[in-house]
Amino acid sequence: MLKGLLEHIGIEPGRLNFSWISSAEATKFVDVAQQVAASVKALGPARYLIKKRAEVA
């Protein structure tokens, strides 16, 4: 649900990733790690929702 909401407001789908991996699934871990890294890398640096120095007067 959170993922849906964040994507709805413009956080790119590849930024937030979920997975289930059992402790024996080392190869799955690596596969998913590669997928996640690739998808984040493809999106480039995060642009939205980053807290910077407060924009105040």
Binding site: G4, L5, L6, E12, N17, F18, W20, Y48, K51, A54
Partner: protein, 316 residues
Amino acid sequence: MIEYTAIIRDTAKKLLKDGKVDVFIGYKKGTVPMMNEPVVISDPEKVDTLHWDSLCGLNLCNYLTKRKDKIGIIANGCNSRNIVTHILENQISREQLYIVGIPCTGVIDHRAVLRAVGNKEVLDVQEQGDKFTVSGNGFSETFDKAKFLRTNCAVCTHRNPVIYDEMVASPVKEQEGVDPFEDVKKIEAMDPEKKWGFFTKMIERCLRCYACRNSCPLCYCPTCFVDESKPQWVGKSIDPTDTMTFHIMRAYHCAGRCTDCGACERVCPVGIPMRQFTKKLNKDALEYFSWEAGLNPDARPPLDVYKPDDYNDFVK
């Protein structure tokens, strides 16, 4: 709906007199046109203060939280669904309540009315069946109520209360063939950049006055996450990132619980349509969990329980 007023007064009087309830919660006519004030009555002789018309757009369930006395309350569809949620979440018990059900034909969008009269000051509103007349200095116009419904009321499919002890009138026909999520789908079709732009612009004016949060019956935590300091989740200035964080978390806390009553938008002093956050969650709850909040007094919201067959397509 103004004709319900007399019935509400009679019912309240009877309930208070018979000692069935200690207090009765309803609206009284506002001091400003198109504004009504929630009111609690304990004296049966004062029931004539009570009032109901198509501009009663808050959520009275808000006033039930953790009360200990016996309460009579009026509730239309969405308010009654919030009462159900309140009962489920231990904020009030069913036994404490005498619910006077209101078949609702929707609440008028006062901002739309103002727009229609060129933002001139409205001095008077008269409701006649499915029409209403607004007048002010040098103008008087009559409108169809159906065309001036608040956007949540226009797509509402639960106009009749889901729990009640008695009804002020027989149920109204539920709307059919409305697509409550047309606006959501439009946003869903945008690319991330556009979406971000849309929402950033939308909340740009936010004052962080928290009227949206406080008007919402779902927000009853003793300390809201925005007020927590260890750790501090959200900065307290009007920094755009902090404001966005507040809106995301506020909406997320309503996930699976929101009845789209529209109170948040109704109260916003700067007119932010923040239902665009919660509606997305409502849409997902319906799609993934076949869930609409407050319809079933026996079922916890989907995010409160875990079932092995829960939606999990997003999981790798």
